[in-house]
Amino acid sequence: MPQELIERSGADIAADVIAGRASAVEVAAATLAHVASVESNVGAYLTVLSEPALAQAARVDERVRNGERLPLAGVPIAVKDNMCLDGTRTTCGSKILENWVAPYTATAVARMLEAGAVAIGKANCDEFAMGSSCENSALGVTRNPYDSTRVPGGSSGGSAAAVAAYEAAIGLGSDTGGSIREPGAFCNLIGFKPTYGRVSRYGLIAFASSLDQIGPLARTVKDAALAYDAMAGYDVMDATSIDRPVELAAESLRKDLRGLRVGIVREFDTKVLGDDMHRLYNDAYRDLERLGADIVEVSLPTADYGLATYYLIAPAECSSNLARFDGVRYGLRAQGDDVRQMYDNTRAAGFGPEVKRRILVGTYALSSGYYDAYYVRAQKARTLTARDFERAFATCDLIACPAASCPAFQFAAKSDPYSMYLMDYYTIPMSLAGLPALSVPCGWTVPDGGSLPMPIGLQLCAPLFAEKLLLGAAHAYEQATKHAAARQPALSRVSA
């Protein structure tokens, strides 16, 4: 019974709790018990909120008894550890914040809780969300629930692994250049990044402010839509959040793709991904067509410049955003004879190598004499990327392409920083343009040198603010193909 309970979708759990077929406390207790049994293998969480989760669940049950129809009643969620939750350790996967307890709650998290969700724990991530495998976390190792020798993806790898291993129904992630979509693809999940500004960033510890966006990881499109509906909308605490009505997505999911034109990107030749992946993506495009979509070719001429653009803008912003970790007001402090030495030592001891690299690149790109050559040039290239998409969306309603260039890889497979950066090749252009995009499972492949089939993801992308269309189409594809349901994660039952 508990196993069955925790494997249900968030939507079903909420329906059960509302209808009195299960209580939020039961769901939380079952989830916590499952977490206790699998965590030593998965390592999704940096902090498990056992007591607070049960207390929170009891409050949800109380609210439900009082007649509140909470859309996420009792739904257990994993919160990426770069989002603040009042009174809870919030580390960003970094030694510099290892013992920092947030004194306030991020707006997106607060809205999830307000909708009835129950936070089970704070999920591991690449340090300050910089990475694509979760290997850059300074505080823990997270394994892919479908193959423990492989990474869960990143940076929202802990949230993805938690959801894949049924340690939560929905995970909150943040996506700067692909950090929700890529782990979504690696862990057989929907990984959804809304339009930039749709979900408040207040309380999300910034990596690159003009790119960061919170979104859900879920086992079904419907769950992703429910989470989006709960979180989206203007927040007075975030000046970059968009003051524009949100069209609720969960109630208007589509059954087919009739009347939609889906663009396939000419520059993204899937042949380079190997025969198996090429075949799977072509099958996916054909499935879209079978569902009624018109398949058209579109061009993103500057797509190849996405990485270069991103790896100037994101580090530049990060170099400034991470200046505040200086050992003065909170977090780690290393000793120094004077403030200057204290800064230098604190930051040297507190940050891992990838964070240091990006701080250095970003500092350099903004420094006197290089600002125009690097930062401004990248901002202009960003304009070109946005224009590419504008032009493409003149002839199509959605764009379909790979979510990642390979399935989940083995630990330490990408030791060269640039090879890791390449993981974001397909997701970065959408981030630069601020567009809503998601990955949805589209098949399984046995990677070279591997023995277990691993999931791969199809990326769908829509124009700004077209989340409803995007989720609706993804739902139609998901329901028609049911790739996700084909296999169970090995690690979710190891000691169950």
């Binding site: 960003c92 920092w100 306030y104 910034a206 690159a208 400034s320 200046a323 505040r324």
Partner: protein, 486 residues
């Protein structure tokens, strides 16, 4: 100053704006208070916190810009100025780099001799203040030699307006006159308390010297740590002298920051330009640009109060007041507004000024009640001035009346009427008083006639007394002298 050199001075002011809350968060913007009690995730630069600009602070800067006749560009934005300092929570300051809220404009100011001058502004921009460091362990509270520092972030994030002048001031006196005018203007606009002693106005000066007639600028130094207008004047004087002396002895001026030492009356080197910071300005991605509509600018312009230099011109050129009384009135906005009402009602600027700055201000000082809050309404003062001007009461009675008006708030005309205090110019009546007094003081009359002319004053006083002060003094004088004449 040596006659063959001319000083070139530019002044940079940081002004804390008067708002209820800080620039980017809802913490109180108040001076002082218990350390670290006005702090929140935003102004403490906590992970994940985001700034949202205070609309009032933006409006204040625009108001100042419009008052100084600046251009208000339709597009403006906030940038990050990156540098590490313990009292700066985010280790960057949200400021404005290349697109400030206002560009150009000028501050009109006047010198002690009444000359009206003008100094152009480069720009005014909006930024956030830092927290406060207290340097401890050295005994004297100074940073040099201290062994640790204590931080209070109550001030961190207070809205700060930076107002930069062109280098168009040429003497320490001009610099302070400029600052005075700037201060008075911001006060009239209600955008700041501009108190140097509380740090809500802070200024630095760029100083260079050049041979008279040269159009090239000399190497400048930046003077900091000036804590009053008086120290601004002294510091600039001292720096000009230092630079002229250096040039005189064939040495070169080093471009550097120099601190003013109030105790010893000299500036000393703080750091040279070679170690200048690399601030890595870039647009703050947490904030969106500002678009300022011309209609908003027009609304601000319509609501502008009378500006100090406009008053000065009116008071001196139209009303004929001296520089000193004009400045005194302008210095106190409420008093100036009261004065304006009295003038409007009485049509007598000189008399109004005399009363307002003289007896009325004295009464205010003695009682601790401001003139404008007193029982003496502008209408009643205008009435009193009219009584004097039409010679219905003389100045002595007027003074008495004012004291009574201060106490009771009555109309002076009513008091005069009720108590028969009107001045009398009735020749026959006054003549009777004169005759009485002369008859009663035979000895003095004899002394006068014997050449002791100074007794006339006493006799005149006696006549005034006999008339209970109501007699027209001029007529009394005339009649007494006439009757004493041989």
């Amino acid at each position: 100053m040596s006659p063959e050199y001319e000083a070139v001075i530019g002044v940079e002011c940081h002004v804390e704006l008067k708002t209820v809350t800080k620039m980017f968060c809802g913490c109180a913007n108040e001076f002082g208070g218990e350390p670290n009690t006005k702090i929140c995730p935003v102004c403490l630069g906590m992970p994940g916190a985001l700034p949202v600009p205070n609309e009032k602070a933006i409006e204040h800067v625009l108001t100042a810009g419009v008052a100084f006749g600046a251009e208000i560009p339709s597009f403006s934005k906030f940038d990050r100025k990156n540098y590490f300092y313990p009292d700066m929570p985010k280790d960057y300051q949200i400021s404005q780099y290349d697109m400030p809220l206002t560009v150009g404009g000028s501050v009109k100011y006047w010198m002690e001799d009444g000359t009206l001058k003008e100094c152009r502004l480069t720009r005014i921009h909006l930024e956030e203040d830092t927290g406060k460091s207290t340097h401890a362990g050295s005994g004297d509270g100074r940073i040099a030699g201290s062994s640790y520092s204590l931080l209070d972030f109550n001030r961190a994030g207070v809205p700060l307006m930076e107002c930069v002048s062109e280098p168009e001031l040429h003497s320490p006196q001009e610099a302070t006159a400029y600052l005075e005018s700037l201060r008075r203007t911001l006060l009239v606009l209600g955008v700041s308390d501009v108190k140097m002693e509380e740090g809500s106005l802070r200024c630095d000066a760029n100083v260079s010297v050049r041979p008279v007639g040269s159009s090239e600028l000399g190497t400048k130094t930046e003077i900091k740590n000036m804590n009053s207008f008086r120290s601004v004047e002294r510091a600039i004087s001292s720096e000009i002298e230092r630079q002229i002396a250096l040039i005189g002895s064939g040495e070169r001026i080093v471009q550097e920051t120099r601190g003013w030492d109030e105790v010893h009356g000299v500036t000393h080197s703080m750091r040279s330009k070679e170690e200048a910071h690399d601030y890595r300005y870039f647009p703050d991605p947490d904030l969106v640009p500002l678009e300022i509509a011309q209609t908003a600018v027009a609304r601000i312009a319509e609501a502008l109060p009378t500006l100090p230099w406009e008053r000065f011109e009116r008071y001196t050129a139209v009303y004929g007041l001296g520089v000193k009384p004009a400045t005194q009135l302008i210095e106190n906005l409420v008093l100036a507004e009261y004065f304006d009402r009295v003038v409007a009602l009485s049509g007598q600027p000189q008399q109004s000024s005399n009363f307002v700055l003289g007896d009325l201000s004295r009464l205010a000082n003695e009682s601790g009640v401001a003139v404008a809050d007193s029982n003496v309404s502008a209408e009643h003062l205008a009435e009193l001035i009219d009584l004097v001007e039409t010679k219905r009461v003389n100045s002595k009675i007027a003074k008495e009346l004012l004291t009574r008006m201060w106490g009771a708030g009555e109309s002076p005309a009513v008091i005069v009427e009720r108590e028969g205090l009107a001045q009398t110019s009735d020749r026959a009546a006054i003549e009777r008083f004169v005759d009485e007094v002369l008859a009663a003081n035979g000895e003095l009359v004899a002394a006068y006639k014997a050449g002791k002319s100074n007794v006339a004053g006493f006799l005149i006083g006696q006549v005034m007394k006999a008339s209970r002060g109501k007699a027209d003094p001029a007529l009394v004088n005339e009649l007494v002298r006439q009757k004493l004449a041989p």
